[in-house]
Symmetry: C2
Subunit: 732 residues, 2 copies
Amino acid sequence: MTGTEGRVDGDGSGLPGPAAVLPGLSEEQVRALRRVGRAWGRVSVAPEVWRRALPVEPDVGAFPVSAEAGRAWFGRLVPLPPLRVRAAGPRAAAGVQAEAVSRVRRVLVGAPLASSAFVTERMRKLVALPVLSADALSSVAYGPEAMLTVLVLAGAAGLAYSFPVSAVIVFLMVAVGVSYRQTIRAYPHGGGSYIVAGDNLGPVAGLVAAAGLMTDYVLTVAVSIASGIAAITSALPGLTPWTVPLGVLVIVVLLAGNLRGIRQAGALFAAPTYAFIVAMFALVAAGLVDAARSGFQPVPPPSLPVTETVGLLLIARAFSSGATAMTGIEAISNAVPAFRPVEWRNARTTLSWMVGLLIAMFAGIVVLIHLTGVVPRSQETVLSQLAHLSFGQGWMYVYVQAATAAVLLLAANTAYNDFPRVLSLLARDDYAPKTFLRLGDRLAYSGGILLLSLAAVLVYVAFEGQTNSLIPLYAVGVFLAFTLSQTGMVVHWWRRRDPHWRKSLLFNATGALLSALVLLTAGISKFTSGAWVALIAIALFLLVTTRIKRHYATAREALRLRPHAVELPAPTSTGPLAPATRAAAADADRETEEIPEEIHHLSVIAVATLDLAAMRTLAYAASLGQPALAVHISTTEDEERRFRAYWGLWGDHLPLQTVLSPYRAVVAPLVHYIETLHRLNPGLTLTVFLPEIVTRHRWHRLLHSRTASRLRHALRNLPKIVITTVPFHLPR
Amino acid sequence: MTGTEGRVDGDGSGLPGPAAVLPGLSEEQVRALRRVGRAWGRVSVAPEVWRRALPVEPDVGAFPVSAEAGRAWFGRLVPLPPLRVRAAGPRAAAGVQAEAVSRVRRVLVGAPLASSAFVTERMRKLVALPVLSADALSSVAYGPEAMLTVLVLAGAAGLAYSFPVSAVIVFLMVAVGVSYRQTIRAYPHGGGSYIVAGDNLGPVAGLVAAAGLMTDYVLTVAVSIASGIAAITSALPGLTPWTVPLGVLVIVVLLAGNLRGIRQAGALFAAPTYAFIVAMFALVAAGLVDAARSGFQPVPPPSLPVTETVGLLLIARAFSSGATAMTGIEAISNAVPAFRPVEWRNARTTLSWMVGLLIAMFAGIVVLIHLTGVVPRSQETVLSQLAHLSFGQGWMYVYVQAATAAVLLLAANTAYNDFPRVLSLLARDDYAPKTFLRLGDRLAYSGGILLLSLAAVLVYVAFEGQTNSLIPLYAVGVFLAFTLSQTGMVVHWWRRRDPHWRKSLLFNATGALLSALVLLTAGISKFTSGAWVALIAIALFLLVTTRIKRHYATAREALRLRPHAVELPAPTSTGPLAPATRAAAADADRETEEIPEEIHHLSVIAVATLDLAAMRTLAYAASLGQPALAVHISTTEDEERRFRAYWGLWGDHLPLQTVLSPYRAVVAPLVHYIETLHRLNPGLTLTVFLPEIVTRHRWHRLLHSRTASRLRHALRNLPKIVITTVPFHLPR
């Protein structure tokens, strides 16, 4: 199933606006900002003074808009072009590595794209049909087979039910199709299940729909690839042992392609779908011609071991398995803005065509299976068996298999467009990490693409790339989203009462009811065979997203600007060594300082030995002109005496405190000392200055104590403690 | 093989002195320190002013000497006791986790020990003998068997050579024993191979000896445990499939025990060795009594498949395999200071006793094997077969097997004392990371213990816990260290020419020559069957240690205080916004500032949005009174305009620079901007202020951008750029 699920902002460009990534300030926040600003103005140095004091010209030119500009790649930084031409300096070593990474990346992912390169192509119906219906139409490659796989368990008696079950599925396709025609009219900007359910049924329903969608996208990738690989291994049985590695390879290729920013548009993406439609119609036509020769006398299926009797549960399982043939039917309703004007009208026409094609192909294949007596086999797909019967081993057989594999691959790719977009919608609404809102330098949501690939690989490998094992998981998510989306539409019509609302409500209600029935059927009949996995995934999704939302709410509340309530102290000189007051003790752990004059500094310099790195740190701290104190951890009294002697030789320029650590640890006593200082003087802001030795080679880092980073880690939980690392760079 | 290899400092306490961890300053450095101090004195504020300005009482009491004090454990910090009693504050969550870790750790490792707890027990000869000779004597559990395993490949013809080969090994034991008697006299403070070879043959020879020793210690653990587990599985064949997990379990137990700081002393450690000696003599005696009954008529060995013919190579391999029976013979010479006075005399006596016992046990077992016709079998050790023949299944059999396993376990434990100590000697001499010099809170060299365990597990698992596969690797390292140590003694005597030097030189030369012969024999005859692994390990060791030494030399040179050569600027006011000069441009990338007045500041505050965290960072930076500039990265022009408007609403208190990032990246343009600022103004020290949101739960970190840490990483390679993170703590 697929769907260009909704838009991040209303302008239909698909690009998240600035408000999505960095939300604006509310009225209340703007008022607070003004008040804070006035408080600064009362006591601080005037802005002009700051500006005049600036020793640099801040404007150094815009960030270079060249195809070679540096970017962050999984947190690794590529050097920037204007700085690359400098002489071989101390950074050269790091530069060589980074440049190699940059080159590999350029080849794999391509040059970065500016935001202005983001355009949405408007599609003609003839292009939109194949692009948007690849997922739905490709479902006939596994839907009928999934149904038969269940029925055949009851032998010939079971297979006799294939016609009635298929008829119900066809009716369902019509009902859901008609239902989505209503959605297209109501949501001309794109009505994804998350949006429709959220708008009309409330945020929880939206989340549940999103959970259904997300599991569904993951399974679309896994099922489509499993089925596509099955089409290939049916033609080339020698490849069967490689099912799992081949599938993983396909996912990796999709990952790389989508990180490059493949867009589903143009002739390249239209071809496989049309090729598949032609292949299916040729197959059905050839089969019917063959059957006509024998007077449409069905070939009886081979006698089969009967492992189950025909019962309600078996029929229900067959029905919900076969219903996977309609996954992807909602794609067009999500992508209305991608059509040429009048968008909703063109989208509706395309939807009708798609449903028509889907029903024709589904029905044709079911009839053909009945006539030929083909039954599912583990080594060869049903479609491959039918093609063999009609076309033997010739080129037409190869064509059918190739077209099937291609359209399934294309269907998998649609999930790569939709999953990251739904995730970005969730991130916009605080339900997912904000990082999923960020477009990569190829204008693709890199985070979502990676997550989808990872999840798809996990599912694909866990189920060993077997379509039949994956199908039971599939139906639940799809029909959960269908049900909620259409129920949302019912509420929509009831509230709005537009002209013709009764008819629309009736159609949507029918669709919702039938989808709910399939959902129930699938959830109950397939619970033990895999649906429970999907249900647990959905429950986990709900749990995680609501907790993320809660965390963001807490964080936003904590970070909100507050009207400044603390009494201002009388303006004091900001010269060096201004005496700090011990007031504001009550305010110690509430991180509220917003005015420079309220901050009373104490610089604490950690010194282990008197080398150049330590001297630079001492000089740096002293040059800030705030009260300063050097701290040294001694492991023995001898060492303590010796260090004090050196300190005296230097001239005793700063107060020194030595701490004896009988257990030889360095970090713990230092943290203890700083924490105690903070407890005794809660009004002070302590700045801890750490010399940090920066090595040129990564492995050299092992040779130096990680004291600085361990201290940073240990102190980061304490309030009002600022950490300043003064780097010292070793030569190569 | 074992040996309490040398001492870190000369006082024999085994505790590294302060000079080892933090070396003192040289005369030249002290002069430079004074000169730097005078330069500060000329321009800086007087020390008294700093002291008076201090807003705190720096002395907050000594670091608590309680058994519950916190320590760093793999970089994880345990909260300190005086701070644990505070009310449930925002840190409580972190505290609960940390406290749980602390408790688990207390149970496993025990309370920390103060340095004053480090005592060296002086041992009586009767205690020293078992403690120091466990490794050597236990070798007879695998030495004879290793020899026979080779000879048996040539069938009965090969087994006939067991007497002559054993005779050569016994002669070798005598020669090496006499040779080490000379070392004891010359190095009464402990003469480990690394020290003796390094002292007399130069640093490279010392390193090669250390390489031999280190590989040897790793193999001592692996071989002793493999052999000990074999003793157990011989008695309980049902445990055979668990050989590998059992061995790994033993290593983990040794790891935990040694992290607790087990000392090899006292009755507990004497018992297994005496028990083993008793067991071996009982075994030999019982065997001889049985043989006497049959008139010392040897039982012919079973007819065996002959896979090799008797040749020089086979004999050589058998010889070098059997020679592993003398590993550990040098232990006593390393541990001379642990004896009661007169140390060297007692040590010599003990050594003679040990060699005597070793020869008696080795010879007894070889004779017994010959008489009983026992041949090596993969399922049962030779010792177990002999015990079965003499004692059947009774308690004496169980006793022999238990004593063998116990003494082998004890032998493995000796490596845990010696490997970390040699590593600390290497670290003292800059050949290994300084972290191996650090004594853990239980006064054990935790780093070395961990490294040894890791290496031993790797070797043990790679060779599947099979003694016979490990033996070929073993001999090379042992005899490399023997040869270099004794060659060093030859040079020692030649240089010193003490009384009796000729005799000592002759004994040592004999030992060295014979050891070198074994080394060559082992290296050549077992090259393909495993010695190449040991040789590669030794070569890698040499490569890595010399590169570490070179890096430390570079680092020390770079960190050395230098006489201050830069012209001092005229003293300027250190008040707020003191104008910075653009001078010292030539000095830009040479990190030499040592005087506060030479540092010209520019504060750069990275601001993404105007929330509380950003306002605090702005206030913090402004309160330092240095020229300041705020930088904002905008991804679109709209966002840029909006941010500038907010900045104006706030009051435009600080200069603002916005940078447009067309590729939506944040870190890269910021780094680019800061780097460009630095290039254009190389005389300035840039301080980058970053607000950092600190979350209470680890998983919440995923929900916030890692901009601060990514910037820190990206900027750390640039000179003169200091990074200050201003934390903002989210509530739970």
